[in-house]
């Protein structure tokens, strides 16, 4: 128990801090900045979770938007169909707001689990494949999900799903981003993480020391899909509108770019590049207004090309912020 409390006191404290900061965030920043901020955090969840598969386990998945869509639609569907199942059960008076928040938490979690299940179903047969083949399978899966959603009338089809309550706020999004980072961070420093890394480094050697590589790949894939689903749930409940065209191949590709740009196998890198890639097109918007030409995507793409040419290992390589802060660290890296 001692270790458990010691290790989790600060994380719980940080989440409480997010709760306290929420009203400040909402009153101090204007809506435009707030929205970008929230999207940054959602993208952080996406890129950090994809890094678990692409960076740490060395499998190349490009279907992350598919899992995000599964999570988004699953949680939004439950929210829309059963608007206040907790309230109905308990018949609460003044606590209705809190109940809705709890219900939202459960729904997002549910979306995560449905996405994780999808990850398991897709991963188990396809993770026996290597390299390019897996990429194509995951790409296909993403498109299948999108087309299914496009043709399912129950979730609005091509019209999309609108009127979803906008419950996701700074607290939820930042807490989930924090949890995602924490989980992946701790996982890769555990025995499971060493398993993931060994699969990336050399599958034959990993099997020779008793690592069931398919099992480890599936594990990474399921956890990654879970967080993609969470990100989807948050996205749905922030935008209040879902459309299958939000989850195209381009979205998957955006996340892959974030992972590659940040460094395959660096959580810090994923966070930084998720922020950069979300903010950069917005930051370049004044330029577009000035010149009346849409230079944004040109500069954005050019920035990517230049970065990849000069730093092919990504911004951070496989290094973490803690590697730079080692000076301040007293304990070894094994128990964080």
């Amino acid at each position: 128990m001692k270790q458990l409390i010691k290790a989790n006191l600060i994380p719980v404290g940080i989440i409480i801090l997010f709760g306290i900061l929420t009203p400040v965030f909402e009153s101090a920043l204007d809506a435009y900045v707030q929205t970008i901020f929230i999207y940054c955090l959602i993208n952080v969840v996406l890129s950090v979770s994809l890094n678990l598969v692409n960076g740490f386990t060395g499998q190349f998945s490009i279907g992350h938007a598919g899992f995000m869509a599964v999570g988004a639609y699953a949680s939004a569907y439950v929210t829309m169909t059963y608007p206040s199942y907790l309230g109905g059960v308990m018949g609460a008076g003044g606590a209705e707001g809190i109940l809705l928040q709890i219900q939202f938490f459960i729904n997002v979690l549910l979306g995560g689990f449905v996405a994780a299940f999808a990850g398991w179903a897709v991963g188990l047969p396809s993770l026996k494949l290597k390299g390019d083949y897996l990429a194509i399978v995951t790409l296909g899966f993403g498109e299948i999900i999108r087309v299914i959603l496009l043709n399912t009338e129950a979730v609005g089809g091509a019209r999309g799903m609108y009127g979803i309550p906008k419950i996701a706020n700074f607290f939820w999004v930042s807490s989930w981003a924090f949890i995602c980072i924490l989980v992946v961070w701790r996982l890769v420093r555990s025995t499971h993480g060493r398993g993931f890394l060994s699969v990336r480094e050399d599958e034959i050697a990993a099997e020779s020391v008793g690592i069931n590589t398919t099992q480890f790949k599936t594990k990474a894939f399921v956890i990654s899909s879970f967080f993609a689903g969470i990100a989807g749930g948050l996205f749905a409940h922030y935008l209040a509108y879902l459309n299958p065209s939000s989850f195209t191949f381009m979205k998957s590709f955006d996340v892959v770019v974030m992972v590659v740009l940040g460094g395959m196998g660096s959580i810090t890198g994923s966070v930084i590049s998720a922020v950069i890639i979300t903010v950069l097109p917005e930051a370049l918007r004044p330029l577009q207004e000035l010149t009346q030409i849409d230079f944004r995507m040109v500069i954005y793409s050019l920035a990517l090309v230049v970065l990849m040419l000069t730093r092919p290992q990504g911004l951070m390589g496989t290094k973490e912020i803690s590697d730079y802060l080692k000076f301040f660290k007293k304990r070894g890296s094994s128990n964080v």
């Binding site: 890394l197 020779s208 008793g210 690592i211 594990k219 496989t318 094994s334």
Partner: protein
């Protein structure tokens, strides 16, 4: 089949298309033995290893470990039964630290759940600390305890070979297959390695099967030697007998050498 026989390889054959890489290979390993497997390049030694460790499935024949067949098992299953190996072309987890390389192999000792990892429970910390201490203990045998934070890929060639042996040992095997452990080492390193191989056999109660090109090393430590040429066993027995076996000399040096001698 005697009880003492730990590994019983019964006539395994491996065919790659029309090529018969190994033909009816037979071997019985008794507990505690140190056996050498030698033969010219391309004789099929590594193919034998790959069959024994589950990388290839033999075309025919059977492999019994403690009277149970290993056929059709995956490499990781075979490892968990207690058979570990090293590779001829070093296969370390190059960008991981030396310590992590060993810890990957001791994953059965650190079998805590996902939740333990995420929440950092006491179970996790205890098991991690213990596995870490054990790993350092193993590395001490090869005098590598001061290298634990180095990247495995940055070690010298000899050290990398040693690390592979340590990694194999960390899986707590009963039988250790060493595929050319001394390749690329200088003569002093080879002598040290010979001593270490002999000592780990006693220390961990191991049975060792060893592929090696260096005759001095093989003759020095092996109790029994099996000679393979073109996939067929051409001779086996005590080192002295092998050394003088005309068939072995022929396989290594060619028939004309023998004629010239006689």
């Amino acid at each position: 089949m005697s009880e003492k026989c730990l590994l019983d390889v019964q006539d395994i054959t491996m065919k790659f298309g029309g090529l018969c890489a190994v033909n009816k290979f037979k071997l019985q390993l008794k507990k505690g033995e140190l056996v050498g497997l030698i033969g010219p390049n391309g004789a099929g030694k590594t193919t034998v290893f790959n069959m024994l460790t589950g990388v290839y499935r033999p075309t025919s024949g059977d492999i019994l470990f403690q009277n149970e067949s290993l056929l059709g098992l995956k490499p990781f299953d075979i490892n968990s039964l207690g058979l570990a190996r090293t590779f001829q072309n070093i296969r370390l987890f190059k960008s991981l630290s030396v310590l992590d390389n060993v810890l990957v192999a001791s994953h059965r000792k650190t079998a805590y759940g996902l939740m333990d990892s995420i929440l950092v429970t006491d179970t996790r910390c205890e098991l991690e600390d213990k596995a870490r201490a054990d790993a350092i203990e193993l590395l001490k045998i090869f005098n590598m305890e001061n290298l634990i934070d180095e990247q495995a890929g940055s070690l010298s060639y000899g050290k990398q070979r040693c690390l592979e042996i340590v990694r194999a040992l960390a899986t707590k095997p009963q039988i250790l297959f060493l595929d050319e452990p001394a390749a690329g080492m200088n003569s002093t390193e080879k002598v040290t390695l010979m001593k270490i191989i002999d000592s780990i056999r006693d220390k961990f109660d191991l049975t060792i099967l060893l592929i090696e090109h260096d005759m001095k090393l093989v003759m020095g430590i092996c109790e029994r030697i099996v000679v393979l040429d073109h996939g067929v066993i051409i001779s086996q027995g005590a080192p002295q007998d092998i050394q003088n076996d005309p068939k072995v000399i022929e396989a290594y040096l060619g028939a004309s050498v023998l004629e010239a001698h006689s």
